[in-house]
């Protein structure tokens, strides 16, 4: 109970604070929370969720999964090969420094305005933290672990799968966590540029038609969505890395 209060206390306080303070607001752009909530229920019907939120989530998911596959694969290759690393690392830093939203118009030129463009934008934005963290993680694999694998004939793909990727997995997870929030941002931004459905598109439509409570309700939904995704990620991570947390606890105790 006490723990629940610690966790939920501030959100509840903020919610009621907003509710009370905005009650009776005459400002057109900051309507009472009551109106926003009513708009939330009216706006986000199952039909709408299916038409706008689902496509957004699918684009997010495919971009994220592609970026993860690409980032981990290329990261392992670069991490294992010193010469390759020396060659590509400065270039990677350059690409990473480009804010992905500025590329949206360019990507639109050759990928059109369909789903492909949005997925490419998401991949381009969130591949970097995954890639760079994988490189670091692979480089940091313990030399004794590598010697052990070698001495016992663990080589080739088995070496990568059972030793290198597992050993680098805490660092890879850190990259994936950063990438997730980037992916959500890019999902919305890519939909704001050019789209015919999606969460970002819908919110911009509400703004342009001065449907302010609906717009706020979309922003709240976006926040809830990001929160739910990061919660899911945390759950998956603590399950996949339970050996790592156990190891860390054991080391701390000794």
């Amino acid at each position: 109970m006490k723990r629940f209060l610690y966790v939920a206390g501030l959100p509840i306080l903020l919610f009621f604070g907003w509710f009370v303070l905005s009650n009776g607001s005459e400002n057109f752009y900051a309507p009472p929370l009551r109106d926003i909530l009513r708009a939330f229920v009216d706006t986000w019907t199952p039909q709408r969720l299916n038409d706008d939120v689902l496509p957004s989530l699918l684009r997010l998911l495919s971009g994220y999964v592609l970026a993860a596959a690409l980032g981990i694969a290329v990261g392992v290759a670069i991490g294992l090969n010193r010469r390759l690393r020396a060659t590509v690392e400065p270039v990677l830093e350059f690409f990473r420094a480009i804010p992905p939203p500025v590329l949206v118009p360019v990507i639109m030129l050759f990928a059109g305005i369909g789903n492909g463009m949005k997925v490419i934008v998401i991949v381009f934005g969130c591949v970097w933290p995954i890639l760079l963290n994988t490189v670091e993680g692979v480089r940091a694999v313990d030399s004794v672990q590598l010697d052990t694998a070698k001495a016992y004939g663990v080589r080739g793909f088995a070496r990568i799968r059972t030793v290198i990727l597992r050993s680098a997995s805490p660092q890879i997870a850190a990259g994936l966590r950063q990438a997730l929030s980037i992916a959500i941002i890019l999902m919305v931004i890519s939909e704001m540029f050019a789209a015919s459905n999606g969460l970002g598109f819908t919110i911009v439509q509400f703004q342009r038609s001065f449907a302010i409570p609906e717009m706020w309700s979309g922003i709240i939904l976006l926040g809830l969505l990001g929160f739910a995704l990061s919660l899911l990620f945390r759950l998956a991570e603590s399950w996949a890395l339970r050996w790592y947390h156990g190891l860390r606890d054991a080391q701390r105790k000794s």
């Binding site: 004794v144 010697d147 001495a151 016992y152 004939g153 050996w243 054991a250």
Partner: protein, 261 residues
């Protein structure tokens, strides 16, 4: 049979050359238990890594059962000093022990048998589903030994395996190594910096000089085959041998052969 012939290793880093091993020649017969002892920094680990095929020597040859070693030989298992880093923390004890067997494509049923037998032999039956970091240091090193045993090697290399465990655990593990050696009839090459341990364990003790390393001296330990911590270490012959090895190591540190008295 393990034959090391004229082994030399020179490390070159940034234009500077460091000669770690100068000229090592020795032979270990099948089923023997040989301890290598030398002053700290004498290149023991370099030697072991060359024998294990983890490091390429500058010149000379290493032959295991007649085949020249150019990569990790299949009949050879290794126990590392840093048990905490040589076991994979993301795997359970069972997976750690069976991973090399999986690589050897041992069928599943046989694999499980070997893993159970090996864990039983090192006194760890019942810990299969634990992770290494849930065990004490001594138990972790037992897992590493079980992994080596399950691999069914003809030769077992041990690189200062007990340097990081406490004295009592160490005595138990020494007896474990003797018992396993007698039971499994493997060839064991045991590297240590502890003179007592070398004399207590070995049937032969090879003493190395300080770096650049050559063989300083070699003795046969003529103590009875049945040894135990209490009586063997109190044996006057044990003390004599120990003194001899100690003198040689001291001489090695000063850089010349001792006059044997």
């Amino acid at each position: 049979m393990l034959e090391v012939q004229g082994l030399r290793k020179v490390y070159s880093t940034g234009g500077r050359e460091v000669e770690a091993l100068r000229d090592l020649t020795f032979t270990i017969d099948n089923g023997d238990l040989v301890c290598l002892v030398g002053p700290s920094g004498c290149g023991k680990t370099t030697l072991l890594r060359c024998i294990a095929g983890l490091l390429t020597q500058t010149s000379g040859t290493v032959k295991l059962d007649g085949h020249e070693v150019s990569g990790p030989p299949p009949g050879l298992a290794m126990v590392f000093q840093e048990y905490g880093r040589s076991l994979f923390p993301w795997m359970t004890v069972r997976d750690n022990v069976s991973l090399p067997l999986k690589q050897k494509r041992v069928p599943r049923q046989r694999r499980d048998e070997l893993v159970d037998q090996a864990l039983e032999a090192v006194g760890l039956a019942g810990t299969e589903s634990a992770h290494p970091w849930q065990l004490s240091g001594g138990m972790q090193q037992r897992v590493a030994i079980a992994r080596a045993v399950a691999y069914e090697p003809s030769t077992l290399l041990m690189d200062e395996p007990f340097a990081a465990v406490d004295a009592q655990t160490r005595a138990d593990l020494e007896d474990l190594v003797r018992a396993l050696w007698q039971r499994l009839k493997v060839t064991v090459l045991f590297i240590t910096h502890d003179i007592d341990e070398a004399v207590y364990l070995g049937r032969r003790v090879i003493m190395l000089s300080s770096s650049p390393t050559v063989v300083q001296d070699e003795i046969t330990v003529d103590l009875p085959a049945e040894r135990d911590q209490l009586h063997t270490r109190a044996d006057p012959r044990f003390t004599e041998l120990r003194t001899h090895v100690y003198e040689q190591i001291q001489a090695a540190k000063r850089g010349r052969p001792a006059s044997i008295g």
